[in-house]
Symmetry: C2
Subunit: 746 residues, 2 copies
């Protein structure tokens, strides 16, 4: 019998590929240095992640969510754990979610996270699995998840053990929850969320149902009571946590929770499964029923790992160091967190900007669109590697327009958060369309884009400052630290994409109109400084201008989160035109090189993320791209918690490194050409989705004599010379082989 | 047609008796001087009252609920109104309920009661109706109610008008609510309650559904957001009220509410009906549907008035001044607030001490039993005037035992609050039984009483200090300010009642056992001081004893809320025995007279409430009763807001004045004799409930030559001399005439 089990485990792992790709994922990458990723257990694009929450409640932590701007439930630098949150954002710059915290403890129930928290030891994380020991309690906590449920396995010592469900603590600054203990094995409730970026207006409840593998001996709810005035003299719980033993009605309040107490034997394991929904408690229960493995933690964990291996295995790399593989697959992993599904197993989801409940038609409804970031490279990468998912994302975006009247900008759980600027749905959708993902409501998409690109007045939700832009071709600076130039630059690239869309749809007049609009960036070009410069409404340039102002996130007139240098080349749709106003190739190239040489470049943010690939536009200068890209890859990305140079921005920096290590980059969304550079790996095999890209595999082979060879000697496609340093998406997805031969110097 | 309407209105008022009795009710009596009644609109024993809430939010108020011990939503001394609460307690000494506040305002919505409140002008209150003008907004607010619903009519000025539903503010110190806007005319939700006397442990949610007569133009919910730390720099709503416009999901939190905004014409009236339930929102909606008059405010008000006239008209008085009539009928009115029904229209109610839902069988389920107070006179009065209601109260109490294992002590909304001491259900139930209200589960009742009277150990929830009492016949003083003597005195009278019950049920041994127990009070009698005195466990008296200690609610060793003087005669079941240990009649009478002569008597609390009637036990001394009672009636009860000498204690002081003005008093519950004294009115007609007391009306006729005649010259019953100064309940309820002839001096 034992042998048989041994064999079936072996077979199982064979089937599972021995964690073939997931073994190269280090979920701790990006968990410090403001990468804001977290090591929580999640499956690809899961609604749920179960994430250690260690950013509150103790001075032993380096970072506290309440002591500074803070946007992640977890920091590698911290060690005081106060629970495992079940809905979380990864790689974002603003705090939100991080709620529905489970926490195992022992002894007398204590609901105060400042007291019940524990130091974490021996953390371990692989895709779909996280484990840590809670030093204070000698408890081992292991986490895994499915798309819409989280599963936790706690190994307790002998004695009285507790599982706390904390609905007060959260990364969000929204408050309010309800909870109801259904019976000694089940609990349900809801938690308010929605203060992304500390803003108001995107409030939405999240619902849950949790089940325990063992009936609780005792249970109850708690509330942190407000501090009373004179009445404090008579109240025992003024300003204290109050416990309502055996309370089985709904409890409401700002800081509430529930506790379940068990008698445990030494090493006894109790498992908790939590189903989540943004629609209702009933749907959370449906999700739990559909995805639960009946408290089989190992099965859930194995399924999660299999799912990850399937997804990561779409790209197979050979060669490179183990660290390089880990950097690559972890980045690919980080592109699979957001956007995530929001539809329940029955297809229901909350409609955009309303509380109406809609139902999906076969496809998934996605949420968490950080589009100012992700339009630049993330969505092209998804179109290449995961076209079905990308198509569903486009459909989701178009449906958001149908539901709310506007395409999204920074959408979170069916709410527009109005974070960052521009009209970034346009390049995402147009780029996908031009890459062949056309099976969506194209008419509606065009109408949506046309609306935001032409609607005058402040009621234009995506382009509130459109009037002067339409009249004069640029957005004038009107307040000291407005982001006028950044706004306009986003509109130009959106309009250029819209022009391409119009062209593809045979709308010639529109094409010309939006193409013209897209060239307005020239208004900002200052001959004097050789860079883009804010302009006043009267057409004069802003005085007291410093093109370096804006470094390190300091405020800067006209530019958002960056300097003029970091925006000046952010016209990827008209490099030719930009070259012309910069007085030709030589000046352009030397100026661009200066950005790298004089440390004007910011690898940690998006406006200049495509800069290193721009040398490819100039014959004979491509080696600069190969050099700078490889330098950035080696310098900024590491197999370590600080291995992402800054905020991952929902996978945008990760998409950059994935592309860069594969030797290609989509410089301009809407332009389906990839700039080519030297790949890091000897062989990269892309398993193209046969439904979208029928044909062969795509193999990228790199030959080099020396590990340090980074300069391209030659490129061959299917055995023939490929003279260009670009390759079109259409050619790429036909599959076949691209062969790079590298050399040691330019 | 018009004439017809005129006639039918006339007929209606005729039928209604022109407010025959309700015209003599002044709901403002008791609303200052810590009477703690309120002028809210309520029907007899209604679950709902709609009450002006004016004890928070402004320095212009004399009393603030948060600045001192405070137990009423309304004070006559205050003028800053912050809404109308829908569940309230009247005449209690501890804060609770006072939640679900509606408030009409105008202009921009402001949810902060410190800002939106208004000065009240022109208050008017009659039974079932309350009106006031809100000076700040030029709004007239009128309130009425049914058993389970409140109705409010607001007359607005022209412009933008609002109705706020505040679920944060409340008299209770429990917090937490949920609210959901169903549509532009309906809202539902729940509010946590349950910190009676600032204690924990009696938490229970109350549910509501509210409907508006006019659809709102705009609506939304709000929440008072917690103050953030560093994040306050970025949040616009840290520590502020946050508004969620158009929010239609459930909202939860500590201080939340909802607003509805309307465009109103000059003098436009908007009506709000609120259904309430302690079971569920569904039941609140059922209650609203069953009792609502479809926004017909006048009809609801007329029905409420009719109900009051029916109830008050069970006793008809003639003679006396208008003030005396008003004092009398207002007191009778105040006996009809609590206990109140808790069962919904479908019979459902929350079971005692659990969240199980039970269903009543035909009878009403009552709640709010302040039994330490009410057992003394209130329940005998109910047994006489409202036997069906009293029987249902007894049934409710026995059902509470069945549900929770214990009879109630201070029950509030199916939760035992453990306030005050003793075993007061015993005298209430036994007294009713002996007065002929026997149609309840007598076996269960006896078992319940036997349990608390005999169960040893601290798990005896009603008599936690029973062990020494059982062993030695008294409760020893064990802490400086414990209430040991007060505890024991309650046990003695309970045990005496239990003895009577045992006797009636033929349980002779039990009778003797409990009768013996009831005489243990003698342990406390101090020959040295001539009063009861705390005793230590070793049998010695407490040293440093001052029989006057405990005046004005100062703490006192052994006695609760009183002095030794105020407890020494609190042995109404054994006046004979007490007389004996006090060395005979002469000493007893002079000592009792001393209590009145030396201002040792407290008219405002219960332990000595029967003292003035004790002279009746001594032949030739009855004139002292007549003198002292009349003096107290004239001195302490007024037709004015300070017209109740202290806390009405759920109608106990009111029951005292009703009895006293009718010329009789039930000195000892369980002893069905009434002590007689001179009535205030010339004629009192009691319409005995024919189902319980078939036969004639009871008429009490008083003849006097002079208005100041207060001494009894003779008493006749049905024309024959009645030589005793007592009359038995059984004789009384046979009806007929009792005739007092009064004289001017003793």
């Amino acid at each position: 019998m034992k042998r048989f089990i041994g064999i079936s485990i072996l077979l199982f792992f064979c089937f599972n590929g021995f964690g073939q790709y997931s073994q190269y994922v280090n979920p701790f990458i990006g968990t410090t240095n403001f990468g804001t990723t977290n090591p929580g257990a999640i499956v690809p694009r899961g609604m749920v992640s179960v994430t250690p929450f260690n950013v509150s409640g103790s001075d032993i932590n380096k970072y506290d969510k309440d002591a500074r701007w803070w946007s992640t439930p977890y920091s590698w630098d911290n060690s005081y754990l106060t629970g495992f949150s079940h809905v979380n954002l990864s790689g974002v710059g603003c705090p939100e979610l991080g709620v529905i915290l489970l926490m195992p403890t022992t002894g007398k129930v204590n609901a105060d996270h400042k007291q019940y928290g524990s130091v974490m030891k021996n953390q371990k994380a692989t895709p779909g699995y996280y484990a840590t020991n809670l030093e204070k309690y000698s408890i081992k906590a292991e986490l895994s998840s499915t798309k819409r449920t989280g599963i936790s396995r706690y190994t307790f010592p002998k004695g009285e053990s507790n599982i706390l469900l904390n609905l007060g603590l959260g990364l969000t600054n929204e408050v309010g929850a309800k909870v109801r203990i259904v019976n000694n094995k089940e609990i349900e409730g809801s938690r308010m969320t929605g203060t992304f970026c500390y803003n108001d207006g995107s409030e939405r409840p999240v619902y849950f149902v949790a089940r325990f593998s063992k009936p609780a001996k005792n249970f109850g709810v708690w509330k942190n009571m407000p501090k009373l005035q004179a009445e404090a003299a008579w109240s025992k719980t003024s300003g204290e946590y109050k416990y309502y033993d055996g309370f089985t009605r709904e409890m409401f309040g700002n800081e509430i929770g529930a506790y379940f107490t068990f008698d445990t034997e030494e090493n006894e394991q109790i498992i908790v499964e939590v189903g989540v929904s943004y629609v209702s408690i009933e749907n959370a229960r449906l999700n739990l029923k559909a995805e639960s493995n009946d408290f089989d933690f190992e099965k859930t964990r194995a399924e999660a790992e299999k799912e990850w291996n399937d997804i990561l295995g779409r790209v197979k790399v050979a060669g490179g160091t183990k660290d390089q593989k880990t950097i690559f697959y972890t980045a690919l992993y980080h592109t699979q967190i957001h956007p995530n599904i929001i539809n329940d197993v029955n297809g229901q989801y909350p409609a955009m900007e309303s509380f109406e409940i809609k139902e999906t038609n076969d496809c998934n409804r996605y949420t968490v669109f950080s589009l100012w970031d992700t339009y630049r490279n993330f969505h092209p990468l998804m179109a290449l590697l995961y076209p079905q998912e990308q198509l569903d994302m486009v459909r989701s975006m178009v449906d958001m327009y149908k539901e709310s009247g506007w395409l999204p900008k920074w959408e979170l759980n069916s709410k527009e958060t109005h974070v960052m600027e521009g009209d970034p749905s346009i390049p995402v959708i147009v780029d996908s369309y031009l890459r062949g993902l056309t099976d969506f409501d194209v008419e509606a998409a065009y109408a949506a884009m046309y609306k935001s690109a032409t609607m005058e007045g402040k009621n234009n939700k995506l382009r509130p400052d459109i009037d002067h832009y339409l009249a004069e071709g640029y957005v004038p600076i009107e307040e000291e630290f407005d982001n006028s130039v950044s706004h306009a630059l986003e509109y130009y690239i959106a309009d250029w994409n819209l022009a391409q869309f119009a062209k593809a749809l045979g709308k010639k007049a529109d094409y010309q109109k939006f193409l013209n609009q897209s060239l307005g960036y020239k208004n900002y070009y200052s001959k004097e400084f050789g860079v883009l410069r804010p302009k006043l409404a009267d057409g004069t340039f802003l005085k007291n201008f410093d093109p370096k102002q804006g470094e390190n996130f300091e405020p800067c007139p006209g530019f958002h989160e960056g300097t003029s240098w970091q925006y000046t080349f952010c016209v990827p749709h008209d490099i030719k035109g930009l070259t012309k106003i910069m007085d030709g190739k030589k000046n352009f190239v030397s100026k661009l090189q200066k950005v790298f040489d004089e440390d004007l470049y910011d690898m940690a943010n998006e406006p200049d993320i495509h800069y290193p690939f721009l040398f490819n536009y100039f014959k004979g200068e491509e080696w600069r791209t190969q050099k700078e890209v490889r330098r950035l890859v080696d310098e900024y990305y590491k197999n370590a918690p600080d291995g992402i140079p800054g905020n991952d921005d929902c996978g945008t920096l990760s998409a950059w490194i994935v592309y860069s290590m594969m030797g290609m980059y989509p410089v301009c969304p809407g332009d389906t050409d990839y700039a080519l550079t030297s790949p890091v790996f000897d062989k990269i095999t892309i398993e193209l989705n046969q439904e979208f890209y029928p044909g062969k595999k795509l193999e990228i082979v790199t030959k080099k004599k020396n590990a340090n060879d980074i300069y391209i000697k030659s490129i061959k496609r299917n055995g023939s010379n490929h003279s260009s340093y670009f390759i079109n998406h259409d050619d790429l997805v036909k599959g076949g082989t691209i062969e790079f031969e590298l050399k040691s110097s330019k």
